[in-house]
Symmetry: C2
Subunit: 364 residues, 2 copies
């Protein structure tokens, strides 16, 4: 069974992503290579998946690590100062030192939280990401964004802290609910649209295998997604040049869908799916692409039962207002990432409000 490696080249902060399926034993050797001198590991795990943490912990112990575990309640609410303090306390009580490895076993919530604890304890501990959701495998585990939420805003408190390594075992997905899995596919499709027409075509050609979670297909799409994200991150590690913004394709719409739908209406990836279709239709309207490109996205998303339009009952005005509050807007202009052809997007701030409004009206 092929095990894949994706390098992330960030000079002294470079690291490697390993992608395998059912190779729990491989973890410890991989981690050992990334952090040769580490002998203690704090395993931070989502409460829903103790069995995956067992596997990780057993393997680290067999390789000579002394381990401790902290279990975090599932869900976004755990990206809090309370859970962060709990991690700091456990590290301080041990006490951890700069060689102590923090291991995040879970989805984006665990990765963001444990990653931020690693970023801020003793001015930085090595971090091993072990993502267990499709979204965290293809997105949140790569790139170094860590953080927690503040009552005033999501991910408002945080730091850039690149992991020492990322260990992806697609077998962890076996327990992932279908809806979470499909939602993660929206971000996978996004990579195809923004950066890689061939990859998009691969997804079209193998949609059935992907949907039934064929291990070879999953490894392949996870690896390619990581590769594409790595290329972007390598060129704009700290979101300074603006290049990293292309990862936000579909997200200006998605964020207002998530807000208006309220917690629990749509998963993030579902909102991104509908958001991409809206952005693509906006690009059509602006004369950037033909209707066919939107149609291909719509068809592919539909094969994974992902939404392709906002809900008809959502009122337009608050959504438009929300777009102006998006942190990417500046000086009262709407900003969108729009495709110009399959595999290429651009940041546009010349889209009139009327155009965005029309898209929302005819979509819903």
């Amino acid at each position: 069974m092929a095990s894949l490696r994706v390098p992330v080249n960030l000079g002294p902060r470079s690291y490697s992503i390993a992608i395998s399926s059912g190779d729990a034993d491989g973890l410890a050797a991989f981690a050992r290579q990334a952090v040769p001198k580490s002998n203690r590991a704090l395993v931070v795990v989502d409460a829903a998946i103790p069995q995956h943490a067992d596997l990780v912990e057993r393997n680290l112990q067999a390789a000579g690590w002394q381990t401790r575990r902290v279990t975090i309640p599932s869900g976004e609410a755990s990206k809090s100062t309370a859970e962060l303090s709990r991690l700091w306390d456990v590290l301080a009580d041990w006490p951890a030192d700069r060689k102590t490895l923090v291991v995040a076993v879970g989805g984006g919530v665990i990765g963001d939280l444990a990653g931020f604890a690693a970023a801020t304890y003793a001015r930085g501990l090595p971090l091993l990401m072990v993502p267990t959701t499709l979204l965290s495998m293809v997105d949140s585990s790569v790139g170094g964004k860590t953080g927690i939420n503040h009552p005033s805003g999501k991910n408002l408190i945080g730091a850039f802290h690149q992991p020492a390594a990322v260990w992806i075992d697609t077998a962890f997905l076996d327990t992932l609910p279908e809806r979470e899995f499909l939602s993660g596919l929206a971000e996978v499709i996004k990579y195809g649209v923004i950066l890689d027409a061939d990859f998009f075509a691969y997804l079209e050609a193998h949609a059935d295998a992907i949907r039934r979670r064929d291990a070879d297909a999953i490894r392949r799409i996870v690896a390619r997604s990581c590769e594409l994200k790595a290329v972007v991150v390598e060129q704009d590690e700290r979101e300074e040049t603006g290049l990293r913004a292309i990862l936000n394709y579909g997200h200006t719409f998605a964020h207002v869908f998530e807000t208006i739908g309220g917690y629990g209406a749509w998963l993030h990836g579902e909102a991104v799916a509908a958001g991409m279709v809206c952005a693509s239709r906006l690009a059509e309207k602006q004369g950037l692409i033909s209707a066919e490109l939107t149609e291909r996205q719509r068809r592919l998303l539909a094969r994974f039962d992902l939404p392709i339009a906002p809900k008809s009952e959502w009122p337009i005005d608050p959504m438009i207002a929300g777009m102006y509050r998006d942190k990417k807007t500046e000086l009262g202009r709407l900003r969108f990432i729009l495709p110009t052809k399959l595999g290429h997007v651009e940041l546009r701030d010349d889209v009139p409000e009327t155009a965005a409004r029309e898209i929302l009206q005819t979509a819903s």
Copy 2:
């Protein structure tokens, strides 16, 4: 009146330190150059020095900044999660964005706390250090270490976050109590011993002018101290190569003196003064230097009324035990930074416990 500039060369994180005396007007132009697009500034200030914050705030406002101020109670206890959360809340309430400048007006406590808030809000805000104690001018404002305390340890929670600029106006020292001022001189002398024999000789030759806070002399020693710290930081930004450890000359002893003396017995610089004499005597004992070098340090420190030995009533055993707990020790060996000649030190882990014990016995 000469205004000095010290560059800190850290690639994309490079910045400039300005050293002047009574040039409040210069601040805004200097800050504008460092952060051209910033239009909001959060001024974080020590409660003891509102007048200095007034000056800073007025000048920033005159240069077009919208400002808010947070006043922090004086003292080490403010390096806490409670004060950190308060800063996060004010930033989130505003709301701050990535162009919002955080301005730290105070000593090391304010710099460390405000710096850590800047490091962790929106994954990093620009930071302007405006140090108002001698220690913060020559040490804590330069180098990017930020953080807060944890019940289990000082500076345990933190991040590396280089400032965008450092504005040093020695006129702020006019209000600084004598003891705080003299304590800061211990770190200044340290730079001479570890890196620059000529600078040490300058301090000997100008001790009287320094003691009466002659502005030219103060600017000169502050600038040279910053330069020397910058050189070290440039070669070991994140304390990875071990080079940065030379800044800890005298500190293995100092830390146990601070602990055994308890809060408030000695200021940090006072402990460092006695610690340097002990380390120097240890170097003599190891045959690294002659007695004359220790004597020169002792004489210079005494001219500033700094302690040159631990208090005689302090018991030896707990101090030795404390040295083994020092975070620089590894595998049960004591580690010291020891001089080999004036202007040069080395990290030694071959010092027998008996030697350290003897120094403490004969010193006190």
